[in-house]
Amino acid sequence: MKKTGKSKVVYWIIGIVVIVVFAFLLIPPLFNLINRVEPWVIGLPFFAFMELVCGLIISAMLVLLYGVQQRRGEL
């Protein structure tokens, strides 16, 4: 099935979100922003909290990618 313009936009959004999250996890100047103990958020040190946030965002993007492909018959 040929990809529509709309489906391509969704893929671009998923790709950009995942790249941005991984950039915060991997590239030292950005990583230094999250590699901190303070402040504590929901009872967790900042880095642990950000691990949770980044992990859940990446997971959600993968599920979204599957959902979009399934709905559009692109699997």
Binding site: R36, V37, W40, G43, A48, I58, S59, L65, Y66
Partner: protein, 499 residues
């Protein structure tokens, strides 16, 4: 009494495992059936086999030790798992289709189809086998320790490893990859549900929750809650800031290059079934792995569990909760180790027959199956004997192996998505990558201080990519490239029709 409770629980677990495997014998004595389970498994099995194989028994020993000694750097596992699931999602479709069309069972065989090179098939098989082999040691050690803990020392370490080796070798010989996937399905659920409950409860019992646990750790040494972690755990000097990204990137690129995981792609009944597993596996990575890894960091605040060998600090802590906890953590370690070891040994045997013997001799499918069975016995007991020797720490072994296996990533991924890739580029890139990694393995195996903590394998991977791209423009693609790419673009149903 304690002894009876723990052995009883383990007995129930092993009886359940044997029953599941016994109920699912090989439908026919055929190598396709033995090696990839007849390409018949749905998403539920694929999901649990990924979970079961991904989180080994050494999670509670080696990775826990990293958390206890160095701190939260052990959570790199979460992110390389997530990244590798994206890689799986991207490569699974085209690889599965090539596998279905040409009967591919291993990475080496894919190389022969894509690059038209029998030699590359053998190199891929032989090198992957050699690089993954030490991993069995990490799992044997974990299983031996679990057996010792369950029996309160009545079964010595080496005897415990031998019992476990006999169990998994027996069921792989019985039903090959089918047995492995059925066993992993059973173990994956057990691993996930009991593990999650166990670690959340333990965090509350020991510390009053994860928040209070992290407070205790911070009061002791706040460095444990940042990357790269406590300098003392690194022998006085922590690696530079590039160590953390290096660990994650190596994991992402290397994860599905392991023969044991690569073969899972071909066991699925369709590309949809592989991709459907992505609805569950990423959340397991975040929630389950974070609970285990964070708890290990918390244990660093309780030195009473950390006396002697820190590898066993987490097990010591959980065992202090009583015999039921001993049994649960032992089942967790055993199920993790068994599902990892069965996957590895079965896939090595298949790689050996498929990529090292079969390309050079004409043998029947039944004979391939029987030779695989002999290989399972030789490789399984070979791993057991090596495990009884003096070895480096589990984390060191795993990290060094990743640097080697990752060198197949460019030839697989660029081969799947870039038509210009050719035999010469795949050969040159893989050889250069393996040689550069080999040089670092003998000089600076864990990380390179001059590169700010980056691992030598990552530098080798970058060179590997460059070499592949350069040589892709030097030589022409093979004649069958267009045909392989046409297969990759086909729908699953169209492939069935071609068959």
């Amino acid at each position: 009494m304690n002894y009876v409770i723990t052995l009883g629980m383990i007995g129930i677990y092993i009886a359940g495992l044997c029953y599941m495997i016994y109920r699912n014998p090989l439908p026919k004595q055929d190598f396709e059936e033995y090696a990839v389970g007849g390409r018949s498994f749905g998403w539920a099995f694929i999901t649990m086999t990924i979970v079961g194989t991904w989180y080994p028994g050494s999670l509670y020993i080696g990775w826990a030790q990293m958390g206890v000694d160095m701190g939260i750097v052990n959570t790199y596992l979460i992110f390389y798992t997530l990244g590798s699931l994206f890689v799986l999602y991207l490569i699974a479709g085209p690889l599965w289709k090539v596998g279905k069309r040409y009967g591919v069972k291993t990475m080496g065989q894919y190389f022969q189809i894509r690059y038209n090179s029998k030699g590359l098939r053998t190199l891929g098989g032989f090198a992957a086998l050699l690089i993954e082999f030490p991993w069995i040691v990490t799992e044997m050690l974990a299983a031996g320790y679990a057996m010792q803990a369950i029996t309160y020392g009545k079964i010595p370490f080496n005897l415990g490893m031998t019992i476990i080796a006999v169990i998994f070798i027996a069921y792989i010989v019985f039903a090959g990859m089918r047995a492995v996937i059925i066993a992993d399905f059973y173990q994956g659920w057990m691993y996930l549900l009991t593990g999650l409950v166990m670690f959340v409860v333990a965090a509350y019992v020991f510390f009053g929750g994860f928040g209070s646990m992290f407070m205790e750790v911070r009061n002791l040494n706040a460095e444990f809650l940042k990357i790269p972690g406590a300098a003392a755990g690194w022998g006085g000097e922590a690696p530079g800031i590039l160590f953390w990204p290096s660990l994650i990137l190596m994991g992402i690129a290397g994860a599905y290059m392991w023969p044991s995981l690569f073969a899972r792609i071909f066991a699925a009944s369709s590309t949809k079934e592989i991709k459907a597993s992505s609805r569950i596996t990423p959340f397991v990575a975040v929630i389950f792995a974070a609970a285990v890894m964070w708890f290990a960091v918390g244990i660093s605040a309780r030195p009473e569990f950390n006396e002697g060998d820190s590898a066993y600090a987490m097990v010591n802590a959980l065992s202090s909760l009583g015999p039921v906890a001993v049994a649960v953590i032992s089942v967790l370690i055993l199920s993790g180790s068994l599902s990892m070891m069965d996957s590895m040994v079965s896939s090595w045997a298949i790689v050996f027959v498929n990529d090292i013997i079969s390309p050079y001799t004409k043998i029947s499918s039944k004979r391939q199956t029987n030779i695989s069975r002999i290989c399972v016995i030789v490789l399984g007991f070979g791993g057991l004997i090596v495990s009884m020797q003096e070895l480096p720490t589990i984390f060191q072994m795993v990290s060094r192996m990743y640097q080697g296996i990752v060198q197949f990533f460019p030839a697989v991924v660029l081969g799947l998505f870039w038509k210009r890739g050719n035999k010469l580029s795949a050969w040159a890139a893989t050889i250069v990558g393996l040689v550069v990694t080999g040089i670092f393995a003998f000089t600076q195996p864990d990380f390179v201080p001059a590169l700010n903590g980056m691992q030598g394998g990552l530098l080798a991977l970058a060179i590997n990519f460059v070499v592949y791209i350069v040589f892709a423009f030097v030589a022409k693609p093979e004649k069958n490239t267009e045909e392989v790419f046409a297969v990759q673009r086909m729908k699953d149903e169209e492939l069935e029709a071609v068959k």
